[in-house]
């Protein structure tokens, strides 16, 4: 057992944990967080493979490292889109609810303003 294998096992557990949270969490924010934990587990697995492939005086195989960097940026972009969708959805629902409670309020999109 060495440190790299330890990170490999951790990455496997993180994937399982993230998947569990992604499937079973009730709130959308929690599902976004779980999705990121799942993703980080996969990146870590890449990192373990990269570390094992270290040769030629570099700390690890630069190909997986570059893919991880690309992946981190794309994961951020996906999370940002998910977060904004979630916020927009909560606004629309709040507007619907306000409209339903108050029949005089028929102006469409009354709650559309961001706070």
């Amino acid at each position: 057992m060495n440190g790299v294998t330890l990170f490999g096992i951790a990455s496997a557990l993180l994937v399982g944990l993230g998947l569990y949270g992604l499937v079973l969490s009730a709130g959308p924010l929690r599902r976004i967080l779980a999705f990121n934990v799942l993703g980080s587990g996969i990146f870590l697995l890449f990192g373990v493979v990269a570390r094992r492939g270290a040769a030629g005086g570099v700390g690890g195989d630069p190909v997986p490292h570059a893919i991880i960097i690309t992946g981190l940026v794309v994961a951020f972009a996906a999370s940002a889109l998910a977060v904004q969708l979630m916020l927009r959805l909560s606004e629309v629902r709040a507007a619907d609810r306000a409209g339903a409670n108050n029949p005089d309020n028929e102006k469409p999109g009354a709650g559309d303003q961001q706070p």
Binding site: A12, G21, L45, S79, Q114
Partner: protein, 319 residues
């Protein structure tokens, strides 16, 4: 076993256990806000793990994007959700469902553990090839070599993805707000801690961002890490009310957003004419071209990340 490697193993064990505990708390903490803070902590711990795994490049990216910008995005989202009606749109699943999903996830984890334990030795890899071909790019950092020369197509597509995601984000604008400013209107903070922070930090931060981009050619760093720091400085000036996010219809903003991917694409097509293939660099021109593309990418990434945090246009739509 050497005492030194024993100490390293101990350190790694503690780090891994802490990582797993914090990951568990992200999913288990009751308050959404606390879970988000746990996620930021998790990102910083992961950055340490990346240093332990020998990649300072990834560690910088993880700290800047995984913990930093994602943290700002999620903290803002959690505090806005707290003020609105909770949207738990799924009923809490029953015990049998939990057991079934738990068993499935445990199986996947176990399979991955088995795969990790049976990884081939010696490990196959591209490290030697990457280092051997590095002199032809003029770079000193093999990760930058992969990102901008060997696998430049991935990086090009990723830069395009950022623009597309931003378009998706802007498309959520309510009717009549298209082209307006995203984010809330904030009163400028002149005195107080935020005012002080925004007076002192951006000059230093901009310098550090450019430095990280520049040294990325030869040492850990690069367009993504540097661009993220620049974007963070821009967000900071919004938070303190010194500047506001620009109108999404602003031509200057749109130009800044596409200059990186556009230049990359032009250089790619120029490769067909002046070198052997798409995204190939003519001999002797690799380094100046890469630095030029990276400089443009840094600016575009900074703008795209900051605008993604700002959200969809919601006010001051242009007439």
């Amino acid at each position: 076993m050497m005492p030194g490697s024993m100490a390293e193993l101990l350190f790694d064990s503690i780090l891994v256990l802490t990582l797993l505990a914090v990951a568990l708390s992200i999913l288990a903490l009751r308050q959404a806000f606390a879970a988000v803070l746990a996620f930021v902590t998790y990102g910083l711990l992961l950055a340490i793990a990346w240093v332990r795994l020998g990649s300072v490049d990834v560690a910088l990216t993880e700290a800047a994007i995984g913990a930093g910008v994602t943290g700002v995005l999620l903290i803002a989202a959690a505090s806005r959700l707290r003020r609105s009606i909770p949207i738990a749109d799924k009923a809490s699943p029953g015990i049998p469902m939990r057991i079934a999903v738990g068993a499935l996830c445990a199986t996947i984890s176990a399979a991955l553990v088995a795969a990790v334990l049976h990884l081939p030795t010696p490990a196959p890899g591209q490290a030697l090839a990457a280092v051997a071909n590095l002199p032809s790019t003029g770079l000193g950092n093999p990760v930058t070599g992969v990102l901008l020369a060997y696998r430049a197509i991935d990086t090009l597509l990723e830069a395009v993805v950022l623009v597309l995601v931003l378009l998706g984000d802007w498309s959520m604008a309510p009717d009549g707000q298209w082209g307006g400013r995203p984010g809330p209107r904030l009163a400028p903070e002149v005195n107080g801690p935020l005012g002080l922070l925004v007076s002192v930090l951006p000059p230093v931060g901009i310098l550090i961002g450019i430095h990280i981009f520049w040294i990325g050619a030869d040492m850990p760093g690069g367009a993504f890490q540097g661009g993220t720091i620049l974007g963070a400085m821009w967000i900071l000036t919004w938070m303190a009310g010194r500047t506001a996010p620009p109108h999404t219809s602003s031509e200057r903003l749109r130009l800044v957003l596409v200059v990186g991917p556009a230049l990359f694409l032009v250089a790619g097509f120029a490769g067909i004419v002046f070198a052997e293939a798409f995204l190939a660099y003519p001999e002797g021109w690799a380094k100046p071209l890469i630095i030029g593309i990276e400089a443009a990418l840094t600016v575009s990434i900074a703008a795209a990340l900051a605008m993604l945090v700002a959200g969809w246009p919601s006010r001051e739509a242009p007439r």
